[in-house]
C-alpha cells in the first residue's frame, strides 16, 4: 500500500513536471492575453489635398507643410501662348499640424490676389480594433480676402465686400490600401456678388477619389457639383484629375484641371474653363514637409 502510494506520488510528480514542460512549449505570448489596440487608418491620401480640395488627411502634428501650387494657362490658348505655358496662376501655402486632429493654414494666390486662412479639424478617425469607426469625418472652415484694387474706387467700398467663406465637411473612407473615396458637402459664402442673379451662398457637393497604382504613385480625381442657379452664367463645375508622386520628403501632384484659382471660392465658384473646349490647365502642387516639433519617443 505504502509502496503503491509512493509510486502514485512519483507518477504525479512526473506528470506535473511534464505538464509544465508542455505549457512551456506552447505559445508563450498567449499567456499575456491579447491586448486590443486601435488601428487608425493612415495615408488615405498622399497629402492633405486631393488636388484643389482638402483631403481626409491632416498634416501630422508638429509638421509644417510648404505648398507651391501652380497652374499654367489653358490648353486652348493655342501655340502662341505655348498652350498655356506662358501664363501662371499660383498659390503659396503653409499648412501646420497643431495637434493630431487639428490643422491650420494660410495661403496667398495670384487669382484675385487672394489671401486665405483656414482651420481643419478631424472629428472622427476611421479605425478598427478596440475602437471601431468605419469613416473619417473632418470639418474645414476657411476665410478668404480678395485684395485686388477696388474696381470702382470712387464709390463707397467696404472691407467686408472682399471677404468670402467656406464651410466644408469631408466624409470618407479608405476602403483598402488602394482605394479611398470622400464626399464633401460644401457651402461657400461670398459677401459680395456681381449680379442679382448670383447667390451669396453657394451649395455644392464634392467628390474626391484616389486610386493607388504603385506604392509611391496614386491617381486622383475630384469633382465639385454646384447646385443649379447659384452662380453666374459661364461658371463651370470644377473637375480635376491627376497623379500624386511621392519621393521621400516631397509629394508632387501633377494634374489637369479647369479651375484657375486654388483656394476654395476661386476653385469652386469662379471656374470658367470648359473641359470640352480645351479650357484645361496643366498644373502641379509641390508639398515639402518640415518637422517643427519632434514627437516624444
Amino acid at each position: 500500500m505504502n509502496r503503491l502510494l509512493t509510486g502514485a506520488g512519483l507518477l504525479l510528480v512526473l506528470m506535473l513536471g511534464c505538464s509544465h514542460r508542455l505549457v512551456a512549449q506552447d505559445d508563450l505570448l498567449s499567456l499575456l492575453g491579447e491586448e486590443e489596440t486601435t488601428d487608425y487608418a493612415t495615408a488615405s491620401f498622399k497629402t492633405n489635398r486631393v488636388i484643389n480640395m482638402h483631403s481626409l488627411e491632416n498634416t501630422h502634428s508638429g509638421v509644417l507643410d510648404f505648398k507651391i501650387n501652380h497652374r499654367f494657362g489653358m490648353l486652348n490658348q493655342g501655340a502662341y501662348d505655348l498652350f498655356g505655358l506662358d501664363n501662371a496662376s499660383i498659390r503659396l501655402g503653409l499648412d501646420y499640424g497643431v495637434t493630431r486632429n487639428l490643422q491650420i493654414g494660410v495661403g496667398r494666390s495670384t487669382f484675385q490676389k487672394m489671401v486665405d486662412g483656414y482651420a481643419k479639424y478631424r472629428i472622427l478617425h476611421q479605425s478598427t480594433g478596440k475602437r471601431n469607426m468605419p469613416i473619417t469625418l473632418t470639418a474645414v472652415a476657411g476665410m478668404y480676402v480678395n485684395t485686388l484694387k477696388w474696381a470702382d474706387p470712387d464709390r463707397e467700398n467696404y472691407f467686408s465686400s472682399r471677404l468670402s467663406y467656406t464651410f466644408q465637411a469631408l466624409i470618407g473612407r479608405k476602403f483598402n490600401d488602394w482605394i479611398t473615396v470622400q464626399l464633401a458637402p460644401t457651402l461657400i459664402h461670398r459677401n459680395l456678388v456681381g449680379t442679382f442673379a448670383e447667390e451669396n451662398d453657394v451649395y455644392g457637393i464634392g467628390i474626391g477619389v484616389r486610386q493607388r497604382i504603385t506604392r509611391r504613385v496614386t491617381l486622383n480625381a475630384e469633382y465639385m457639383y454646384l447646385l443649379p442657379d447659384q452662380v453666374r452664367e459661364g461658371i463651370m463645375n470644377s473637375f480635376s484629375i491627376g497623379a500624386d508622386i511621392e519621393t521621400g520628403g516631397h509629394v508632387f501632384q501633377l494634374h489637369l484641371t479647369n479651375s484657375t484659382g486654388m483656394a476654395e471660392p476661386a476653385a469652386f465658384t469662379e471656374t470658367t474653363g470648359d473641359w470640352l473646349d480645351g479650357g484645361i490647365h496643366f498644373g502641379f502642387n509641390i508639398s515639402r514637409v518640415f518637422t517643427i516639433v519632434k514627437p516624444k519617443i
Binding site: N2, S19, A24, L28, E246, G249
Partner: protein, 184 residues
C-alpha cells in the same frame, strides 16, 4: 504513509512552480536604425511584449509595426505604407530559445550573456536568426537586452533605386526589456 504522499505532492507542486517560472513585459523597448550618411532613419517602440520561460529558455517577442515612432511623421507613414506594409503585416515576432538558460541565476545579481536562436517573422517572411543577448539581474530587476542586425532584403523589404543611397541595407535592432515575474 500519508505524510510521504503529501510531501511528494508538495514537492511536485513546488517543482512545477519552479519549472513554470516565467518573466514578461508589455512595454519593452525595441528600436532600430537603418540610417545612412545621408538620412537619419531611426524609430523606437515602447510597447513590445515579451515572455521568457526561465526553465526551458523559450523566448517570445512581439511588436506592433505601427507602434514605431519616428522623428519625421512622413517617414513613419512611408515606413508603414510602403516598406513594412503594416496593414497587411501588423506585427513583427520572434520565437526562439536561449541555449544556455541554465547559466542565468535569476535570483542572483549579475550580468549573464546568453545565446539566442529562433525564428524572426516580419513583413510576412520568417527567417532563422542567431544572436547574442544579455540578461542582467540587479536588485530584483531583470533586464534582457540584445543587438541584432537584420538585412532588409531577407524580409523582402524592397527599396526603390531613387532612395537606395539613403537607406542602409541592414537594420540595426536594439532590444531592451525590463521583465517582471509572470504570476498566474
Amino acid at each position: 504513509m500519508n505524510k510521504t504522499f503529501f510531501l511528494l505532492l508538495l514537492a511536485a507542486a513546488f517543482a512545477g512552480q519552479v519549472n513554470a517560472q516565467k518573466y514578461f513585459t508589455r512595454d519593452g523597448t525595441i528600436s532600430f536604425s537603418a540610417s545612412s550618411p545621408l538620412e537619419k532613419i531611426e524609430a523606437t517602440s515602447r510597447g513590445a511584449t515579451a515572455v521568457i520561460d526561465a526553465a526551458s529558455g523559450a523566448v517570445e517577442f512581439a511588436v506592433l509595426i505601427k507602434g514605431f515612432i519616428f522623428e519625421k511623421a512622413l517617414m513613419q507613414e512611408h515606413f508603414n505604407e510602403n516598406y513594412l506594409e503594416s496593414t497587411k503585416y501588423p506585427k513583427a515576432t520572434f520565437k526562439g530559445k536561449i541555449a544556455n538558460i541554465e547559466e542565468v541565476k535569476w535570483d542572483k545579481d549579475g550580468s549573464y550573456p546568453v545565446k539566442v536562436k529562433g525564428m524572426m517573422t516580419m513583413h510576412g517572411v520568417t527567417k532563422e536568426i542567431k544572436g547574442q543577448g544579455n540578461i542582467r539581474v540587479q536588485g530584483g530587476r531583470i533586464i534582457a537586452s540584445s543587438d541584432l542586425e537584420l538585412p532588409l532584403s531577407d524580409y523582402e523589404i524592397s527599396i526603390p533605386s531613387v532612395v537606395a543611397d539613403k537607406i542602409s541595407k541592414t537594420a540595426k535592432v536594439r532590444v531592451e526589456v525590463a521583465l517582471a515575474e509572470l504570476k498566474r
